[in-house]
Symmetry: C2
């Protein structure tokens, strides 16, 4: 009888419309019926990406789409600037290095956003930099970067701006075209409310020139093949049929709601979560650049984050995320992204209060929930 | 009210158990609950692959797993022998070429199986060949190759044997270990009765030495990362949670049925399909090496295969496959693989008879169905 609730920053919960779509008998991918769905889903993705450029779908996790960005734009001997302020910034560096691409690292303290001026300085100092890799929402720290400001800096240079928006797309604003984000990468299991297994990548005209010039060896992730297929409303290899059908349902929900409303909802959930943490006397990990998709919270001395997450999940059925890499055990992360609503946040905070109380941490029981309620009432 | 039936060689129909699993609320992948499923599914894959080696899961279409085989085993400057007797043999060559690997092509007439002696000769003639790439069931032509005989030839050399068993695994026999198939690649949407989106790859100890030595650049498809994760019952990147949960259900069904029974069922469906085609006066495309997973049939002069497939699908709801590449319009392909049973074959033949009759082709109405029924009665 234990009910389970998912408040993790990927996967996020699946709406009933998506679950229903996943349970339909499968159809063949090279049929007019599927092509119509692929076409509609591709248009829907452009709406969410806020772009008129092509958005390609790749059957892979988000990392596959990140690798597609790196190898289609650059090749061995090229230089990239990587903004590294968490685990997923580091992933850009690792992928570059695997392909012999020099990754100049712009180290940002975990929990802080990158200063666009620093990017500008580095670009001026090294005109060989062909691409800047950064993160919209660094899931590992709960930081959101100011892509609008970063885009203004990078567009003045020959370099392209590449954004890991795996966490964030469909939850917080990213105006791909208006903010000059040349390549935006995303995944299915976050703001798009789907299971993991689909990657997405948009490519501007400026970036497409690099795609045509890159000498990196590639086949499965070759965007030239993806482009050729997309122009015929197809995918280069067997489509992830079921996930794409489900994607189309999720995109219909997003369009019906409207991006502005969705962003406002996420903003409110984030504010409520942050207010609740303050109400419990807990400190935010990224107070100066907090993302509206996920909140990272420092734990008081003596409270083991791993154990807390385990108790919330295994005893009470509420799954939040712990810290990754150097933050393991030190922070917890509560997602407010995708198919998560106001009362999911309330129950998550309530469960956190219960376990904190049982752990001996001193606070006013109910103070977290009350602070969140106050925000939601506004 | 039109009922739809799927008789294509990928995707194949999904069992209700799989559809149900796909519609369950999602769980997080880094939890004991998911780990238990991943462990069970990995063991189940070993049963189907008939191997004690590791079988890795990759979130990708089958082609992603093929690329993983090529780049983890070989790198630029290496030489491979590729058996090329259809569209999917050609894919091995294309992937090799994309990475600067010399692909020596062993051309086999489309519709024929490869002669293992030819492989032996080529291996003797060029000791630089490090890997032999071939296909279990060449879906484009309906040919099954004799992997047992090929394995005997290759195991006597330093080369490794790499098999594309995307079509075929779980439908026709492939004894990975006993037949010395060093690397076997498969996909989810064929004999395994799942939607597309998961690739699988088994690696023998002999092949693993090449994995450690290969200098091909790689990240997402790096099997060293996959191995490190699998040893901790994990995947290197976010797992395709829903597909893996569904895979586990499909594998339970396969284990319950037993591989020998499954292979016998496929053999009988294939025999019935072939007998039916003979009964209709149609010629098999691959009479000397017919696969028990899919049957390719030549069309009589004056019958357009593309139109026939379209009419069967759009007018009567029965989806079979047409010809690919040079066989476009010239053959049809009827799958008898995965969650397809005796009476699916009967209805497929009946629909084919209906459309052939309407097209003006002369034959005894009912002769195809009768011939199939005779086989099924045996």
């Amino acid at each position: 009888m234990k009910k389970n609730f998912l408040l993790t920053p990927g996967p996020t919960p699946l709406p009933p419309q998506v679950l229903e779509a996943m349970s339909r008998p499968i159809i063949h991918h090279r049929t007019p019926a599927f092509q119509a769905i692929l076409k509609e889903a591709t248009e829907g993705l452009k709406y969410v990406f806020q772009t008129t450029s092509d958005v390609f779908m790749i059957s892979s996790s988000g990392t596959g789409a990140m690798e597609a960005a790196v190898i289609n734009l650059l090749c061995a001997g090229d230089t990239a600037l990587v903004v590294q302020g968490g685990k997923f910034g580091e992933r850009w560096t690792e992928i570059c290095q695997a392909y012999g691409i020099t990754a100049e690292v712009l180290d940002v303290e975990w929990g802080k956003g990158v200063d666009p001026l620093e990017i500008s300085k580095r670009l001026k100092a090294n005109p060989k930099i062909k691409a800047v890799f950064t993160t919209l929402c660094e899931t590992s720290t709960g930081v959101a970067n100011d892509l609008e400001a970063i885009g203004k800096v990078v567009k003045e240079t020959p370099a392209v701006l590449v954004v890991d928006a795996i966490s964030g797309l469909g939850a917080i604003d990213i105006k791909t075209d208006a903010w000059f984000c040349d390549v935006v990468v995303s995944g299915s299991q976050k703001g798009l409310m789907l299971p993991p297994g689909l990657g997405f990548i948009s490519v501007s005209a400026k970036a497409w020139k690099l795609v045509e010039a890159s000498k990196s060896p590639r086949y499965y992730l070759d965007l030239r093949k993806a482009k050729k297929a997309l122009d015929k409303t197809d995918t280069p290899f067997t489509s992830s049929i079921t996930l794409i059908i489900a994607l189309n349902e999720a995109l219909k929900m997003i369009k019906e709601d409207g991006l502005e409303n969705i962003f406002a909802r996420h903003r409110k959930m984030a504010e409520a979560t942050r207010a609740a943490m303050k109400g419990l006397g807990l400190e935010l990990f990224a107070p100066s650049a907090a993302s509206d998709a996920v909140t990272a919270v420092k734990l008081p001395a003596g409270i083991d984050g791993e154990k807390l997450v385990k108790t919330m999940r295994d005893t009470y059925g509420v799954t939040i995320a712990g810290g990754q890499a150097e933050l393991k055990g030190k922070v917890i992360r509560i997602a407010h992204m995708g198919y998560i609503g106001e009362f999911d946040i309330i129950l998550g905070i309530s469960c956190l209060e219960k376990v904190l109380q049982q752990s001996g941490y001193k606070f006013n029981l109910g103070a977290g929930v009350k602070a969140a309620e106050e925000i939601f009432l506004k």
